[in-house]
Symmetry: C2
Subunit: 276 residues, 2 copies
């Protein structure tokens, strides 16, 4: 039998603490982050991530997945809170809140936790500043069967509400690592791995380029692109057609177009090998 | 010789009127929208779009393109305003504003203004709610050489600050049309045109599908996808691999991946035709 704590006051200290998780410094201090929505929290549970605190809206509709979630959180010793839709909106900062939110412990995000042989594709973002782009890259990574996302240099916080929301649950399915460039480079060169950049310098067409697994697809900062030294360190530089006036794509779009090309290329390669 | 009007007061009625353009109802009433940044305004000028009002920051650095812009606006009978960085920040709603912003007349956005034979690819968004996605689709359209973006049903406003910003100038290089579905369908069927949807229903792999120009790439609403009737009306339904837990891509990513695939397919087709 689940014990639910009722919270009805906006000034309740728990509400304040949860709400504070929308700010990076408080997330960092607490080592916790917020995620919303039954679908997302169910994805999380099925990937082995249970919230430490589950916050339910009083106005939720009953749902078997919600009951399963509540049961799992209680059994794991987590806390279940029930509150008003208004307070839930205040916590998540979203006018029309989902019926459920959860507080999760941040994951270990060191390179050492990654098994590069577990996937053929890895996305790598350098100084990605827009949390929406970062979350979208996670979501795209899930779609192309990437192993995870490696964040280089000073990126937006992947555990921020906007990034988590844009990831559509992929924050829980993709591995995540944060590293400085030199750390990453020495880790990468300590094993197999092809580093590929979308680049305008000395690049071959992205279509039909010789991609090889595990392929690390490196996308640079939204306004500056990649530092020249990073591009120079790549095994392969590829370029996408730019037919108009613009000379670059949105960073998440570049990751998507290139990621899908690498996926198709590696699968076609595997197909030929099987036929041969 | 350019005449610049100095504005130094936050409560100046012009400041209020410009600032109001950030809201959709005021944009609609005025038929005007805001765009910021020297690069974007220069792209606009080179595409034949001059701002009616040019707003310069007192703290701008001199730049030949800025001078050219100011001259062109003056010669066209437009107004040039000089103001403080704080007031410019207030107008554009951006903490660290660009040195220049402009007020443009909204374009005619009826289907009748589109020449479908002017490009091989057209992007079509249905009920796209996120202005960032919409602007990103414009930017991607520019990159793949699309003719423009057709907005079906109730989409975000392409002239909103966020959409214009995300378009990175493509709001001025891409044609734009707004229509209800039935209007669009009857216009489309009144000429050549293949309607292609990214779909999960009865779809063929997006890679190697028989795309034909002019190809209209239809992307559905972020959370609902396309209405079934719209999908049924398509000439071709294609699907992208989904290797993970998610069953959909971000809408702008889907447009990017599919748009680049159509571009490559049509160019390869043209290549074979030339060889044959």
């Amino acid at each position: 039998m689940t014990v639910r704590r009722q919270i009805t006051g906006f000034s309740n200290p728990t509400v304040k603490a949860l709400r504070a998780l929308r700010e990076k410094k408080h997330r960092k201090a607490a080592g916790r982050f917020l995620a919303e929505g039954l679908r997302l929290l169910t994805d999380a549970r099925e990937c082995g991530h249970l919230p430490e605190v589950l916050v339910l809206s009083e106005s939720r509709d009953p749902h078997p997945l919600l009951e399963a979630l509540e049961r799992a959180v209680s059994e794991a010793g987590g806390e279940v809170i029930e509150t008003t839709p208004d307070i839930l909106a205040k916590i998540t900062g979203k006018g029309n809140p989902q019926a459920v939110a959860g507080v999760f412990a941040e994951f270990d995000a060191s390179l050492a936790t990654l098994d590069r042989t577990s996937a053929n594709i890895w996305l790598v973002a350098q100084a990605m500043r827009d949390p929406g782009n970062l979350g979208t890259m996670l979501r795209t990574g899930d779609a192309i069967g990437a192993g995870g996302l490696i964040l280089l240099d000073d990126c937006a916080d992947p555990f921020g509400v906007e990034a988590v929301r844009a990831s559509m649950g992929a924050i829980f399915t993709q591995r995540l690592a944060r590293a400085r460039w030199d750390e990453f480079e020495s880790w990468l060169r300590g094993g197999d791995g092809q580093l590929v950049a979308a680049s305008l310098r000395d690049a071959v067409p992205y279509r039909g380029a010789p991609y090889a697994a595990p392929c690390f697809v490196l996308i640079g900062n939204e306004s500056q692109g990649l530092p020249e030294a990073y591009e120079a360190a790549c095994d392969l530089r590829v370029t996408m057609p730019m037919k108009g006036r613009a000379d670059s794509l949105n960073a998440a779009i570049a990751a998507g177009v290139l990621g899908y090309e690498v996926l198709a290329s590696l699968e076609e390669g595997a197909g030929s090998a099987r036929q041969g």
